[in-house]
Symmetry: C3
Subunit: 162 residues, 3 copies
Amino acid sequence: MVNPSSSQHAGAERRLRDLGIVLPNAPHPLGAYVETVQSGSLLFLSGMLPVRDGKLQFVGRLGKELDESAGRDALRTATLNALSAAKAHVGSLDRVTRVISVKVYLATSGDFYNQPIVADAASELLRDVFGEDKMSVRSVLGLAALPLGAPVMLEVTLEVDN
Amino acid sequence: MVNPSSSQHAGAERRLRDLGIVLPNAPHPLGAYVETVQSGSLLFLSGMLPVRDGKLQFVGRLGKELDESAGRDALRTATLNALSAAKAHVGSLDRVTRVISVKVYLATSGDFYNQPIVADAASELLRDVFGEDKMSVRSVLGLAALPLGAPVMLEVTLEVDN
Amino acid sequence: MVNPSSSQHAGAERRLRDLGIVLPNAPHPLGAYVETVQSGSLLFLSGMLPVRDGKLQFVGRLGKELDESAGRDALRTATLNALSAAKAHVGSLDRVTRVISVKVYLATSGDFYNQPIVADAASELLRDVFGEDKMSVRSVLGLAALPLGAPVMLEVTLEVDN
C-alpha cells in the first residue's frame, strides 16, 4: 500500500513505481527527425502522439468523434510516450530537475472549449511523477488536424542535470 | 509630458510608467501548471489569454464574431497579462535582457489572413516597453479553437539576468 | 561530380555547395519583430513562410487548393529562408552545432493526414545540409490558417557555437 507522504520527496522513478506505472517502449520517429535532443540542460522532445507499439490508439477530433474522457485517455497515452522517450535519453527520470514547458495540441472541429480539462490529463500525470515543485508552464491549442488523424499531441521540454 | 528621447535608454519599468500602463494582477493557472518557469536565463511563460480578474474579456473567432480591431484589443490584454506574470517572477521588468520569442495564436474560422496586423498589437507593446533592440522572433498561427473560446493566446519567452 | 562519402564529414557550407543549393536573400519581418534572436548557444528563428523576394510563392490549404507535392515544395522554400536567416545571423552555417527543433505548421481544411510526408521536405533538407548526427526533434500541426494565406510555416531552433 502506498504511503503518499513517504514518496513526497522521492525521485520520479520511485513515484512511477508507487503509481504502478510501467512505461511503454519509446516511440519511433515518423520521418527524418529524432525523439529527443539535449542542448545544455534543456531536453527537447518531439511531439508525442497517442501511439503504442507503432499503432495510433485513438483517432478523431474532440467534440466530434471523441469526447472529453477519450481525449484525456489519449493524452495520458501520449504523456507516457514522452516519459519513455525522456527516460531512453537520460537513463533515469530522477535526472529531470524540472518540467519546463508542456504544449497540448487538441484536434477539434472548433466548438470544443473544455481544453484545460483534457490538458490536465498530461499536467496531472507529470505532476504526480515529478512533484508539485517541478510543474511546467503550459499552452493548450485547438488544431484543425494532427498527424495521422490523431486527436492529441503533446510537446514537452525538460530540464535535466547536466 | 513624455520626452521620448529621454526614455529611449530607460529601463522597462520607467517606460511602463511613461506609457501610463498599470499592469493587471498576474493571471492564475487553469490547471496543474504554473505561469512562469525559469531555467538558466530563460524565462518561459504559459500561454496568456485575454483574461482580467479571472474573467475572459473577449470571446469568439477573428473574421467571424470579432474583427481585427477587437483582436488587437484582446491580444493587448493578453500581453499585459504576460508582462504581469513576468514581473511577478523577476520582481522588476528591468531584469529582462531580451524578448526572445513571441507566438501569437489566433482563433479563426479559416478565412482571416490579416494575422500579422493583429499580432503586431503584442509585438508593438513589447517593443514599446522593452525597446527596439530587444525585439523577438515571432510566429503567428490561425487556430481552430483556443481554451474557453478565447480569440487569442500569447506565448512569450524572455531572457533575464541571472 | 559529387562524392557523397567525401562530404559526409564536411561542414554545412560545403554540403550546400555539393547539393547545388544557392540560398535566397534573407526574409524580412512583417511587423515589429526580427528574424533571429540568439540567447547563449540557442538561435531562435521566426516562423518562416514560403516567400521569395517578399512575395508568397504558394497560397492555399493542403488537401484543398494544394496537394502533397506542392506542400513539399512550399515547405522546402520556407526551409531555405530559414537557412538564409540563420546564415545572416551566424555568418557561416558551419557554426551550427545542432538542429534542435523543427515545428512544421500546415494549413489544412482538416481532412489531410499525410502531414509527416510533407514535413519531411524540411527535415530531409536540414539533414542533408547539417548531417544525420544533427537531426532535430519535430512537431507537425494542421492549422486553420497561416499568415497571408500561406500553406506552410516552419519554425526552427538551432544550437550554434558561442
